[in-house]
Subunit: 429 residues, 2 copies
């Protein structure tokens, strides 16, 4: 019945930008009466004579368990894990399936991974953290020692600086949002403030840098300035309530909010105060940005303001015309997300999306806007603005800053084309 | 070395309440120099000749995976699941291990369970949600239909109205925080506003109640007033990013923020608008509060303002004197948590704890305060105040409102005694 009024309904909807973007209040306050028929062709009048009772309603189901797992019907909820690396054993990634997730929190089992020498199986009873270098009193902590300290809990995103690097290549790959952008996750992290521990060790005069080393086979090491370390850096012990996972650094990792993921050293075993960076392998041969003049920029720490539409996104298909929710995530290493705009015409017109997050600094913020797809071609884009006033740049603007081979710190606007057949593809627009 | 100054250090710390509660700023801003030796006897000067490299640092670890799991060293992170119920098949619970968790988010695998006929294994492709009764147009939705609707994401606690009922018994059981209070969890829930769907169906004049029924063998049914349904109730489809788990109602559940968990009907299959409550079995024979005069109070919906200390808590042992972080969670069905006070002397003196949450309505809020245990007896308590001005009552105040057999809606102050041997026990104080 509702389909009969389909055409009339569409006319009454407030368009907020071209090519189908409409006012979300139609669905949440102004009333859906005008949009009902647009939502789904399978919304039907209930047949009052329907008496078929499904089998699962006729018997008791299984009992409670100690540790739950997803329904067997959601088997596709997996990280995108690459094949083992034969040349560099243990070097690899797995990517968060952003296109399948909702909200802002990433479940621990789906948090992205990036390892340089695999995941060590660490016995917390044997693990030690040493703080030394330019301190008055070197200290050694067991896992149990750290558990006695005051803690803090914060929701923070974590993003690899190589995330989205695929979109710096000359031609747009036909890839999913996970394959391009899946080195991004967001959790509630709990741990001990590094300032507390450094205060106890006593910072020697002249110390300006903090270097950290992991207990993995690669001895991952990174340097950060002391002033950042004292501001908001902490030793993460818990993730979304439970102890951090082995692939996130169990039993402990450094967590450096808003900065490129690589500096949040996992399996943390050494913190050394110094008057200069250590120039570790992973801050010289890697994790530097090659500039147009051939020089490499070292220590680009905060992640840029960024967003992407996760639904619809690459390799998805729109199965029907009518109303869809365009939804995605936005974040910035410089503060909170203050605005996300969405375009359905490749950036010619924009509408403000609804922000659906905690409003907290350095956390993912979900955005949403209703969109009527009427079967024509479209190019969907999102553009984030952060509380520092930074606006997400276009792909071309980002590329102009670097040598063509640079893959780090790409935060350009993502474009997804929608064909007349409903196929969604990664494009450069 | 730091232990030598132990006694002098203690004198310099600002006491904020009796029996060892101190100002948290000593650990986060005022400087730890005065408290260092109190934290742990195993904080030692690092031996600079230490060269032992653990085995896991000498080889590549395992590769990334599709779906992660906890370290094998954290085997005790399990829900407290009861034995299968032989008399009522499928009736049972599992409790969140609150005493082992940190922060405010409960991982999906550890979210508490309460089933009346077990967990049905529902194929989402076969599942239907029907909205009928006093509506202009009955509607039927598939799971796919609902995925096309605008969604919302919010962090909300969920608490069973029978939670903490053990502490209404005449004598205090020697139990853990999980065993007493573990029918409590908190997640980021994402779903479709019920108001949107009811608006589409069209609410008939005179409708004042919404009744909901699950597809489990028990046909769990509950009624809530229409005005609440239109305010903030939604159909939850995702929990902490991924599809809700089978034990949480997969593929869909009702979510009624702040109200007793039982009304958030799982495996939701029917919503019926009516001009009165349905008086389902589970709102007449159960989930009513027996009063001192023998009458039963029906429909006590919002959960009371409440808190408990999770660390240290029942059946734990303090292994050493000195500084500990007293930490716990607070929540209210009437708003946000505005204050949590902690006492170490059974309620004679109180100090304000630090609040470490999102500050959002109807979500768990972690609280923290440093405490120096000097080996004497103590009784630890917490007392929450919410944004509506409600203050968590004592156990005696709650009991006075009900018949002695009532087990629902107990939100009295929890007392944990600490013996001179460091043993922590549930007590009535």
């Amino acid at each position: 019945m509702s389909e009969i009024n389909n055409q009339n309904n569409k006319e009454s909807l407030e368009r907020v930008a071209a090519n189908g973007l409409i006012n979300r209040r139609h669905l949440l306050g102004l009333g859906l009466a005008g949009a009902g028929g647009l939502i789904s062709h399978s919304v039907l009048a209930a047949d009052s004579s329907r008496v078929e009772i499904p089998a699962w309603s006729k018997m008791p189901g299984r009992d409670p368990s100690g540790y739950g797992s997803p329904s067997s019907f959601v088997g596709s909820y997996q990280r995108l894990a690459g094949a083992p690396n034969a040349v560099l054993p243990g070097s690899g990634v797995s990517r968060t399936p952003l296109h399948l997730l909702q909200g802002n929190i990433t479940p621990n089992s789906l948090h992205f991974e990036r390892h340089h020498s695999g995941i060590p199986a660490i016995d917390p009873a044997q693990h030690r953290l040493v703080i030394h270098g330019m301190v008055r009193q070197p200290l050694e902590f067991s896992y149990e020692d750290l558990l006695a300290y005051p803690m803090q809990s914060r929701i923070y995103f974590l993003e690899c600086s190589g995330n989205s690097g695929a979109n710096t290549s000359a031609t747009a790959g036909d890839s999913s949002a996970a394959a391009i952008h899946g080195l991004l996750s967001c959790s509630e992290w709990t741990g001990v403030s590094l300032a507390t521990l450094l205060d106890e060790a006593g910072i020697a005069e002249g110390a300006t840098w903090v270097t950290s080393t992991g207990a993995d086979g690669a001895s991952m090491g990174r340097s950060i300035p002391l002033n950042k370390a004292l501001r908001d850096v902490f030793i993460a012990l818990y993730q979304n309530g439970e102890p951090i996972r082995p692939e996130q650094g169990y039993p402990m990792r450094l967590f450096v909010p808003g900065w490129e993921g690589n500096v949040s050293v996992k399996w943390l075993t050494q913190i050394k105060l110094a008057d200069s960076p250590a120039n570790f392998r992973d801050e010289t041969s890697k994790y530097t940005d090659l500039l147009p003049d051939g020089k490499a920029l070292q220590f680009t720490f905060p992640m840029g303001v960024k967003s992407l539409i996760t639904s619809p996104s690459g390799q998805m298909s729109l199965r029907r015309q009518g109303l869809h929710e365009v939804s995605g995530v936005a974040w910035s290493g410089s503060g909170a997300i203050s605005r996300v705009e969405v375009s359905a015409d490749g950036g010619r017109s924009w509408a403000d999306a609804h922000l659906d997050g905690t409003g907290q600094d350095l956390a993912l913020t979900r955005f949403r806007i209703p969109w009527i797809w009427e079967g024509g071609p479209a190019v969907l884009q999102s553009r984030a603005t952060d509380s520092a006033g930074q606006v997400q740049p276009t792909r071309a603007m980002v590329l102009a800053n670097y040598d063509a081979t640079n893959r780090y710190h790409f935060n350009g606007i993502q474009s997804w084309s929608v064909s007349a057949q409903g196929e969604v593809k990664n494009v450069y627009a």
